[in-house]
Symmetry: C2
């Protein structure tokens, strides 16, 4: 952290954020075998950009087969108009509660343009289709396949300050999130907001877990219940927090504004029932047909990855707990090596299939496409992350005997391999209840450290090495062509252009998987939450480092939620309620019940526990939701207030106070007048017509309030009189 | 039905709907012991009404201690302004998508005032608090305790046509519902819409039930699954249908506009965070404290009513299946008599407690008050309706042996009562699996017929008798005081004033209870749905009859949902998935398993079934919801279209086409100009300053599009040249 200066280069170059006012850099590749096409396309690129009002400059790329095109929006007027247009569009789609002011400068005064907003709009100018007012450049596809990437430049001064600030801080606050939002957009800010909330919530299970570990040991019912309750509360809290943040950042509802996928293939055009404009349609039943392929795909995933886990784990059990022959100290590593080698191979293969399926499903918007892809990845992640633990918790510990045929198989195999005549030395198989704790320790501590290393340290070292090598190699070829005052800047842009794109979904996945360990298995090792707490403190900072140094600056997309991950968390929380209960039951009695075969009594107790756990989860969820719905959230309140004020203003402006006043309820005087006027008018009508209708007569019996009162009182008096002389004849009745 | 004329009186009197233009009738009581107060209050009543612009007429009531005050809105202008004001308010609260037109006559042309709207607004004029522009009359409470009721008059011509039309129709259509909505308001219309949907959906379980009854018998797994699936689909369908209807009737969101309860007691005033107006507040924790009393209340209900059912049922079992002594033919009826006498007694008592609790909970709005009351009633109804069947299904059939102590008790009691020396003759106790079918038959057929009789026929007969008696008694006292041309009308109003108020929640309750029988127990007697189908055909018509003839005309309240009943249905549907599975398991093997004690294997199978059934329910619900969310509902679509058009119109009107055009993307020419202008301006700036900054220099290297293209092409050519002579030295690089 102290060597940040080294990372950013010795001095911060030039004016205005050190980036020469560049908004985006286009990394343009010129493959030697397609040089002519690339050149033609380059001309089109510059023309397309200029046509929408973007200024361009071209420089040498990091290799001789690439160019860097620097772009900025040509005039600030154009940008302001783009901002106005976008905000108007937001209002039309319901994202903003009020329409932007007609006066452009007022609009900007009320709500200045943030860096994220400017960059997002410029990116849209570059990539939107031509008939939608953009330059229609779709990086990497079709005509624009030579456009390798379009990326904004890091604001190094900000990044440096950011990393330094965070490394000296224990907890993040709202201002930190707002800062990220203004720089990197809501999509990235939501990730940090989520991890921040999660981190703070984690303190509860960490504390409870520590106590449980000290006083209750593994497989404690109390810990399982607390953990289930916690996960429900956290999940519901986050759902509300998300809405709050979205309102605060003015992005509530942006998930409804979806960007069309350029790859979307439509079959026919139809009229949009709402806007009346023509829309491109792909029949849903065709998509459903493709989507149904997900079922066999999931089955294949389960079979392949499940089988792999079963094989490697049973082999490991055989070697560690049964085999007593020679070479045991080396063989111990065999299953782990097999698992480490084969899992990525299979996962990679299955990921390819998933990607292929996802393309075939032909989603219309990038959001739908990404959500579908994330769901598929989640299935794979679920298998690879949790299968070994599920194996231990639900097969190895309670039903160890089931493994006997597998152990026999390995035994026979080993016998065959060694080709020895005498039987291999073995021990009697005995399940080892600490296996699950060891595994949890591996997944929560070892794996997280390894992950941190591969995520931050390794790329950093590799990048430094590559940069050094390149610097050495290219010193003579490209650099000396640069103008000296730009040389350092261009050098930096070239190295940024070689970085990976930042993908926030990878970071979400890590958190979701972690949440899964916590809710599914932490009952087997209550210290997990403590480890995750430490890990996430580092994770938050290492993710910041990854964005600032390890990746190209992300395009600041908007978002109003953590999207499909929300469903993943909900699913894990639900499943966790049941696995926790099951693990408590199956593993805590591992020593007492007849090994390998649960008695029938236990079977029904087990199912009862499962049933109760699920219903405890559902009931808790219902109660928490009810309570949360009663609490007035500041965000929603703010939104409702804004909507109310807009409407009130509109009423006052457009409809005028006059109408309001006219519509006011008449006071006594006014209404007296009304009644009298109405009655007089009616009387006139009657006199002109000569004779009144029965209805007119009915309402003319008592003229005005006072007569009604008078007659009513007479009737009351009469009923009193009747009471007094109950026996005498009927008194004369008043006729009005 | 053929004697409708008799019911309505011989001839339809006078003009305009036969009601002399009367909007509401106030039934004013004058208790002999409070005559002075009643008279003072009467004067205030007339003054208050007149002050808000309502014309009044007073006539004799149906007895000598009551008056009838006829009211109508004094001028149509006032009414129109009330309508405008109300619609504006609706728009402010988000119920309407567009604000009403400033021009009042345009507003009425676009959307004429329906009868329900007029009556509702006039009722609000009468009852709204004074500072809210109403007359502040709250029937039955405080100062206005002599106002027994305020009710609109039936439109007899409409009612007659309505009943005649419905009695000749097999299925209702949307137009029938719209008609009800215009006459009786959305609150009543929603009930009929619900029963209509429910009736149409019932055809599925009726058909499946018939087939199941013929081919599968009782306790069929297939029927249980179908029934569960059906109830989920129906529930989700209705939730969407409700929204659709609400949009169509323009009432979506009215449940958010709530009427304050006049009885609400507040503790302090606070500022509304949204409107900024002061609101009256009762601390939620105090309410919660009272609400917690519901838990002991529910326990008392369960104990009292559950105990009653257990007692009576075990007694019945004893008498019918064990006792073989004398007088059996009479004793058979004893438990039924006990149940019939004691259930209403206890229920009435508990209802009183529930009502008392509900008042103590001090709800702010009538909606919250009613919802809470309905929930409490539902608990009581649940106990009285389903307890006997739950007893049979979960105690009597599977665990008959549990009953032995009870049977012993009754045996001993009988022995004591008869005081005979020799033991009473008994048979061996043997459970009878048909008991549940018999009970179901009772609840689905007998009880529904009895219910129909008590609901429609009995009140009709009683009313006729009372009317005859009164007519006879009062002929001489009141009627001869009437003006002859009004006599018949007044006579009719007097009899309407004596009718019961129509309470739609009673009808909902019936349907909810029926839905409960269907989803909880129909697996024990699959014909239930058929019976309900027949019953509901009649029910729809008898309910119409009840509104038209048997009750005062209801005040046409609005509503956008069936309200708390939705939760009741959801709960019953969820519970039904589990009871069905449990009944199938427990009862279908009633004969095969060891009587009275389920083996352990069965225990776990049972729990497994329960667990699977619940998860089948949850999964089905999820899938159905997902599928339904994909289907574009016409109502929601209509609403979104309306919102879109309003915004579009506002943009066009207020912001002007000019701004839109200015904000449009520049064409090639325009942007070329922009770029050139911008560049020229920049060039000027540089020349004035003498020397450019590094940034200005950077963007001045290539002046305009063509130079960028030129330089870019040269760079590409250079990279090609380098490839060609890879071994020779670096070629001269282009410097722009």
């Amino acid at each position: 952290m102290s060597k940040l200066t080294d990372i950013y280069g010795k001095s911060e170059p030039g004016a205005e954020g050190g980036n020469f006012g560049v908004d985006y850099v286009i990394n343009y590749q010129i493959p030697p075998n397609e040089r002519a096409e690339a050149e033609a396309s380059f001309v089109q690129l510059i023309q397309a950009l200029t046509s929408v009002g973007i200024a361009t400059e071209v420089r040498h790329g990091s290799s001789k087969d690439s160019l860097l095109v620097f772009i900025k929006v040509a005039s600030s007027d154009l940008l302001v108009r783009q901002v106005y247009r976008a905000r108007l569009q937001d209002w039309l789609s319901g994202v903003r509660t009020s329409s932007p002011d007609k006066n452009l400068s007022t609009t900007l005064q009320d709500e200045p343009i943030s860096e994220a907003e400017r960059l997002r709009l410029i990116y849209l100018m570059v990539t939107k289709p031509k008939d939608d007012g953009g330059a229609g450049i779709t990086p990497g596809t079709g005509q624009w396949r030579f456009v390798k990437s379009v990326f904004p430049l890091h604001d190094h001064a900000f990044n440096k300050a950011w990393i330094q600030k965070w490394s000296g801080k224990y907890l993040l606050d709202q201002a930190d999130l707002d800062e990220i939002r203004d720089k990197f957009g809501e999509s990235v800010a939501f990730y940090f907001a989520f991890v921040r909330s999660y981190f703070r919530f984690l303190m509860v299970p960490a504390g409870v877990g520590l106590l449980a570990w000290m006083f209750l040991g593994q497989f404690s019912n109390i810990y399982a219940l607390t953990s289930c309750l916690w996960s429900v509360i956290f999940f519901e809290y986050w759902k509300q927090q998300e809405v709050d943040l979205a309102v605060q950042w003015g992005v509530r509802g942006v998930s409804n504004i979806q960007h069309k996928r350029p790859e979307f293939e439509w079959e026919y055009e139809a009229e949009d029932p709402i806007t009346g404009e023509p829309v491109k349609v792909y029949p849903w039943h065709k998509r459903l047909q493709t989507q149904l392929l997900q079922i066999p795909f999931a089955l294949v995933c389960i079979t392949v990855l499940g089988g792999l886990v079963l094989m490697c784990n049973s082999l490991e059990v055989f070697i560690n707990e049964v085999y007593a022959g020679s070479g045991k100290q080396y063989l111990t590593f065999l299953p782990t090596i097999l698992l480490v080698v084969l899992t990525p191979t299979f996962t990679g293969l299955l990921m390819k299939v998933a990607g292929f399926l996802n393309v075939r499903e032909n989603y219309e918007t990038t959001d739908a496409y990404n959500a579908a892809l994330i769901t598929k990845q989640f299935v794979l992640n679920f298998m690879t992350s949790y299968m070994p633990l599920l194996f231990t918790a639900f097969i190895y510990i309670p039903f160890g005997d089931i493994l006997l045929p597998f152990l026999e198989f390995w035994h026979a195999t080993a016998q065959t391999i060694t080709m020895s005549e005498k039987p291999l030395p073995t021990r009697e198989f005995k399940t080892n209840a600490t296996r699950i704790s060891n595994q949890m320790f591996y997944f929560t501590v070892t794996a997280q450290i390894v992950n941190l290393l591969t995520e931050v340290v390794v790329p950093y070292v590799r990048r430094q090495a590559i940069a050094k090598a390149k610097e050495f190699r290219q010193k003579s070829s490209v650099n000396d062509k640069d103008h000296p005052e730009e040389a350092e800047f261009l050098q930096r842009v070239r190295s940024e252009s070689e970085l990976e794109a930042y993908d926030v979904s990878g970071d979400y996945r890590e958190m979701a998987v972690q949440f899964g360990y916590l809710s599914l298995f932490s009952v087997a090792w209550p210290l997990a939450a403590c480890c995750f707490l430490v890990n996430n403190w580092v994770e938050l900072r290492s993710d910041a480092l990854k964005i600032a140094i390890g990746s190209r600056r992300p395009i600041p997309w908007r978002s109003d939620s953590i999207g499909p991950w929300l469903h993943a968390l909900g699913f894990l929380s639900w499943l966790g309620s049941m696995t926790s209960s099951a693990i408590v039951f199956l593993c805590s009695n591992a020593d007492t019940h007849t090994k390998g075969s649960l008695a029938n009594v236990s079977g029904s107790t087990f199912l009862l526990g499962l049933f109760l756990a699920e219903n405890f989860y559902l009931a808790t969820q219902r109660i928490v939701r009810f309570v949360m719905s009663k609490l007035e959230r500041p965000g929603l309140q703010k939104e409702r207030k804004a909507r109310f004020l807009v409407k009130k203003r509109l009423v006052e402006e457009n409809l005028g106070q006059a109408v309001e006043e006219k519509a006011a309820t008449p006071g006594i005087e006014a209404s007296d007048r009304i009644t009298r006027e109405a009655l007089e008018e009616e009387a006139r009508r009657i006199s002109t017509r000569g004779h009144g209708s029965p209805q007119e007569l009915f309402w003319q019996r008592q003229r005005g309030m006072n007569e009604t009162i008078e007659i009513g009182r007479r009737m009351i008096a009469q009923s009193a009189a009747e009471d007094d002389k109950a026996s005498s004849g009927p008194s004369p009745s008043p006729r009005a």
